[in-house]
Amino acid sequence: MALLSIRNLEVVFPLRTGTIPAIQDVSYDLEEGERIGIVGESGAGKSVSAFAILNLVSQPGYLSSGSIVFEGQEISNADDETMRRIRGNKISMIFQDPMMTLNPVLTISTQMEETLLAHTRMTREAARSIAIEKLRAVQIPSPEKRLEQYPHELSGGMRQRIVIAISLLTDPRIIIADEPTTALDVTIQAEILELLLALCNDYRMGLILITHDLGVVSQISQRILVMYAGRIIEQGNTREVIASPAHPYTRGLVGALPEMTRPGRRLNQIPGTMPSLQSIPTGCPFHDRCSHVTDLCRSHRPDLVSGSRRAVACHHPLTG
């Protein structure tokens, strides 16, 4: 039994101009201690699918169908009280910009103790010692001093470590990291990724890493899900997917990595942009950017066909 099992998840945004499906038919499992990466362009539905797990899709969006089973319990229609016990407690989340996610006017200690006290009855002293322990776990030097500081007094890397420490406070089963390194510079980025990887191993936590950076995913996650226009179009073992992408879009993404280009040449790119979710073309949503397009692609949308651990939604999957 998977720790988290998502089936046919659909989130829609009813707008004046019509109902927009932000994600459709998203299904995946997360085993205990497993690390998966969700990759895709902006607007592909990565973040929405993560927020949907916590039932925190921003207004006016809502979860219109599908099921989310966490630890054997259906939580897609759970009430607020149940969800509040899961959020930040069993499933916690790390956001992109640590400057924005820490409250600018509260000290680090207030913010950390707050999280603990919201979930467990304990004294402030007990909360404080747990906070210090977690700050040590994310390798923050002299944590006692940091606790008394405000977010603006700390560097970007330090802030992101603190955000991670906050997410660890209640020993969650799953961490959802929404582009955790995008706002950081490259050297710090590597440190934070290493830290996340080490923490997941130490605490046996599941990780859902959301990113548009294939390089980041390949460093951390065991499995990869590629999203395009609100659907999963390819999934499988990270190494296999990157070594031999089956969907032309995935191949395009891999090909667009700067490492794939010889110095002096122009970087490869996928022509065109992702279709607006308001006007997803018939057939395969990728068909007008695809070099392998046929009439079948224009008229029929390919389903996600799964092999053993590999699945791809394409009429003409690439091989080799």
């Binding site: 956001f95 992109q96 600018p104 207030t110």
Partner: protein, 314 residues
Amino acid sequence: MSSDTLEISGSFRKRLLDSPVYYSFVRNPTAMASAAVLASFILSSALAPWLAPFDPWDQTQFDIMDSEIPPAGSDGADGRFLLGTDAMGRDMLSTILYGTGISIVIGVFATILQAAIGVTVGLAAGYFGGRLDSFLMRIADIQLSFTTLMVAIIILAVFQTTVGPRFHEDFAVMIIILVIGVAEWPQYARTVRACVLGEKKKEYVDAARVIGLGPTRILYRHILPNTFSPLLVISTVQVANAIITEAALSFLGLGMPVTKPSLGALIRNGFEFIFSGAWWITAFPAVVLVVLILSINLLGDWLRDVLNPRLYEK
């Protein structure tokens, strides 16, 4: 809220001395002067029972024979009465000291009441939005469309006639606080709502929700502290406004009774005698009132400039 946020730790002093607010304060003579004036008013009125030569609330302590003695330095002055006496023979200095205290207490507590109502309404309206927002803000609009003075006059006039003067004397302070507090809450509600609309889109609110905090905790512990700087600025204005409103009400005879006069009641009290030459009964409380309001407003101006970094460049 828990007490630890208010706890003054060892580093608090250092933090205060290092803060830009303090930096700007010690370099701004106007702010320092008005803070000094305000502090001396607060201190002297708080210490009035020990500082004042007489107790103006104790009718046995003054004598009608001492009435309308001019202040020191004029003809017929009496050494006992530095600022002269009023028509009842009360020492003006003592009465002003006590009266300033009443005015400040009314100003501060009326503002606290306004803030308590306004902040709650503003937080709820801004955070939950939709119908609740429309409903609460329309109530605020309606409340604002009645001027404070009008509401206060109606309520106080009705109150005075129904409960009788004795009861009114005992509860005047509380009633005035209540009336001014209720009449002016929309100022806070609007400011807080506007701030919340800006703040609730920020990621730290998402983060707080993801942590599993409930709306009350998010609103009061996370969003509210981020709206403190505009609140602090309007609070100074509101305290000054409340003091003026109270003075106006007292001047109209609807505020504090003559037996326990505030600054406004003192001004009214002496106004009848201004043409008979006893100018000091009105003039001294009026000067105190003006200086008090001016110092609060100047302090508020300075605070607004410091807390709004966009004004630094000017």
